[in-house]
Amino acid sequence: MYEKGWGRVMKNMFRFQLRRLLRKPSFYVCFGLCLAFTVLVILAQKATFDTMGDLREWLSPDDLQTQFMQTFSPQLLSLNIFGSTMLPLLLAVFSGIYICEDRVRGTIKNIYARGYSRTSVFLSKFIVSTCIACGVYLLTVLIAYLSGMVICATSSYRAAMLTVDGYWLLVLGRMAAVLALNAFYFMLSELIGTTGFSIAANIFAPGFISTIVLAIIGIAALVMQDNTFSSNAMTVYEYWVYNLATSGFEVDMDWWDYIGHLVASVVYFAGFGILGWLIVKKKQVKN
């Protein structure tokens, strides 16, 4: 008989999830596209800069530095790549496909009916999904950084080798934001359970929630005619809503801002993770 303890159960679940993941063409397509897009964005920026030859002659060196050359700092490139690539979009698509697959195909019946608890299924999926998001984000950053190094190594861009204070902290902060967003996608996909609807909800929900909250704040501020309320509400919005929809970690942000955004990301990650677990735990296999 196939006797197992908790450790063995989790080991089997991880092996199962990884085999499922690594033999999934959509995994390679989604994240291959993401990495390709990273390189494409950088090449497009370089091409734009190259066409500015005339501009370079009559702009002052300072202006040139400020307006164009900063873009080619490896550190800045790797920090800005999150906003300019399709990473959030592709994470949203991939979560919809990967998280819902077992329910859509009915294979979840084979897992639960073989004595695997809902918690072990949730944990294995959530950890694997988090590792993917983390890995792909870091890979994107690395590719952007290396691309920046290659570009800046050429003489015409040498002057643009700018460094950013607290670079690694910003990379870490943005990773926390990516993981919070990924946990949100995970929770939503588990809640919805079908691939198409999950992908659509993952893509539109952050922006939709953000817009609704912003509209409510705006209306409330108009009605109350209270500047303090309006200012406080916008601060809360910035940390707790805007942070989810986009990364709130900006270059030159102050420490309090940084800590606020980091706390919001960690709370979101944990909160959406727990919500996802409760959904998995309570969900029955009706179909």
Partner: protein, 301 residues
């Protein structure tokens, strides 16, 4: 008493306010091929899903191998519920390999099981190219991984052609006889269950109306000759002693003779020659279908 592999006591399941399974108690013994019969919507699949932990019960209990249902004893159960859950883009082998990580089984065992279910030649074909029958057999193969002691199969022959049905039936009988695996099979196709089941449970509107062994059912459904005559005691003695038919039941002037119906004319001739006036002779038979329909009661359409 035989060892009980699966037992439910007062099992109840509701969806909203609707009671789908009501106070259901069934007993499946080791080595049984238990046919779970009921019309569509009777609650067969729901019962199986509750037993396997896919649905949460609202009341009652499930015992597997003598203990309350838990994750540990569920590992001794294989199942195929509704349509088989498979990865269509992968080969049969890859599907088996994935589930073998969870259920146990080496590559050699995977090949052996695929051979057993007649999918040896399709081992490396993509599942999305499979016919319904092949998918059903692969579903059974997945359920067989890890040497389960109990197999729960929900409508395993549903949608199959006669050849596919026979193939699945043969697999079930072979696994039951060679590996001693107990089966709990639901179906609304009486003819199919008749051919393999050793015990039956009849369900209607979520209520188990009867549990009966195949022998008892055969007894209840066998054909008999009903004969009304002037001297029933004398007639019974003649039939027993001179025609070697021992099983006769007398009720007033009517004899219920359990015998081959081909002998009805012979019995009549004999009694008349002995001076007994036969006023009525009827051949009685209850088919399995009649019996089950009678137990299921009226079905709302």
């Amino acid at each position: 008493m035989d060892e009980l592999v699966l037992q439910t006591k007062g099992l109840t399941k509701k969806f909203g306010k609707k009671i789908v399974v009501n106070d259901l108690s069934l007993n499946i013994r080791k080595g049984d091929i238990y046919g779970f019969i009921g019309p569509n919507g009777a609650g067969k699949t729901t019962v199986m899903k509750v037993i396997l932990g896919l649905l949460f019960p609202n009341g009652g209990e499930v015992k597997l191998f003598g203990e309350n249902q838990n994750l540990k004893n569920l590992r001794r159960v294989g199942s195929l519920i509704e349509s088989p859950g498979l990865y269509g883009n992968c080969s049969a082998f890859e599907n088996m390999k994935r589930f073998a990580i969870l259920s146990g089984g080496t590559d050699a065992q995977i090949h052996e099981i695929l051979d057993l279910v007649g999918l040896k030649d399709a081992t490396y074909k993509k599942v999305k190219t499979f016919s319904l029958g092949m998918k059903q057999r692969l579903g059974i193969a997945v359920a067989l991984l890890g040497d389960p002691e109990l197999l729960v199969l929900d409508e395993p022959v549903n949608g199959l052609d006669p050849m596919g049905m026979k193939m699945v039936r043969d697999i079930i009988l072979r696994v039951n006889q060679e590996r001693g695996v107990t089966f709990f099979i639901s179906s609304h196709l009486l003819g199919e269950l008749e051919k393999i089941s050793t015990r039956y449970g009849i369900i209607q509107y979520g209520v188990l109306t009867e549990e009966i062994s195949a022998e008892k059912l055969a007894q209840k459904c066998r054909k008999s000759i009903l004969l009304t005559c002037s001297e029933p005691e004398k007639a019974a003695k003649i039939i027993t002693e001179q025609m070697q038919i021992p099983e006769i039941y007398i009720k007033e002037h009517t004899l219920n003779i359990i015998a081959d119906i081909a002998r009805s004319a012979e019995i009549n001739t004999k009694l008349v020659s002995e001076g007994i006036a036969v006023s009525e002779l009827t051949v009685m038979s209850v088919s399995y279908e009649d019996y089950f329909l009678q137990k299921m009661g009226p079905v709302n359409v």
